[in-house]
Symmetry: C2
Subunit: 197 residues, 2 copies
Amino acid sequence: MEQCLIHFSLMARWKPNAPERLAEAALELFAERGYDATTVAEIAERAGLTKSTFFRYFADKREVLFGGLTLDQVLAAGIAAAPSAATPLEAVANAFEGLGSDVFTPDRRPFSRRRQAVIAANPELQEREALKGLRISAAMVEALEQRGVPVITARVAAQVASLSLTMAYARWSEGDEDFGDLARRSLTELRAASASC
Amino acid sequence: MEQCLIHFSLMARWKPNAPERLAEAALELFAERGYDATTVAEIAERAGLTKSTFFRYFADKREVLFGGLTLDQVLAAGIAAAPSAATPLEAVANAFEGLGSDVFTPDRRPFSRRRQAVIAANPELQEREALKGLRISAAMVEALEQRGVPVITARVAAQVASLSLTMAYARWSEGDEDFGDLARRSLTELRAASASC
């Protein structure tokens, strides 16, 4: 048992995962010197890795804060796994559970806060984030269509779901609530609001 | 009368408007050599202008295909001008009229088609387009809030409106229908679809 605790403690300090170490190093450097003044070589060096290792995981400097996210796969899997009688937005709500347990876990919150601050300060990163948002939305449309949802309904549902995610992510970063709870609550608010559009 | 026709004909050939000439030159060069291989200096040269003139109108190379768009202002003005009894999406529909008459006019369709093809081929331009989409949505949220629409309702309405615009723009580029008609039809389809989400 004690050995187990020591093992986890070392794991946490060593951070043996290359993409995570690169993202952490990038975040530090972007905060210290600014995004533009930081090179890929410097990020790799700070992480104790090589530039070629960087490019094994990320296509470019922008990607380093986005590459680890698998939101689209987690959401698509959650939508596919929803009961067959679920409405489109019920299927989406089912998928949000997975984000709370697998992606936006409480231990990730401090990193997310710093990441949000760096993105807010850099238009190039905002562009990458905007494009990622479109891809996440497209993944939800596809997963809903595979459930037999007509494409137009799937697109509206994905728009509402995307906005729920944005709202929930902002609230989750700032506070201490469970991501899944926040995302389902946002979805409920938006469904109610859509009645008065 | 004849003098008048000659005048217009020369206007058309000279294209005296610098931002439009730069956008046209950029589009030609991006299609010929690719986006990455084209420099700002080459765009300015092709347009018969200087690099400093380029930067008077556009912040960077990406912006040259987006700088001329004033969608956000036209939409905000159209939303503000809607009758006070209009629902949020009726106000948006009112704004779409303005796009058909002032922005997406039939003479612009050939340029838009080529522009779409270049954007589809270049991830960097897709990023800029994604960010512009978010800004257009934010402008609609603000204009709706100024009408007294609660922020959450305004955000849902803007999401639906944004999707209408995307759909209408794709249909308008490909076909020969009026943009305003297409946008209002998309909006109606999406409102109907949202009932079954």
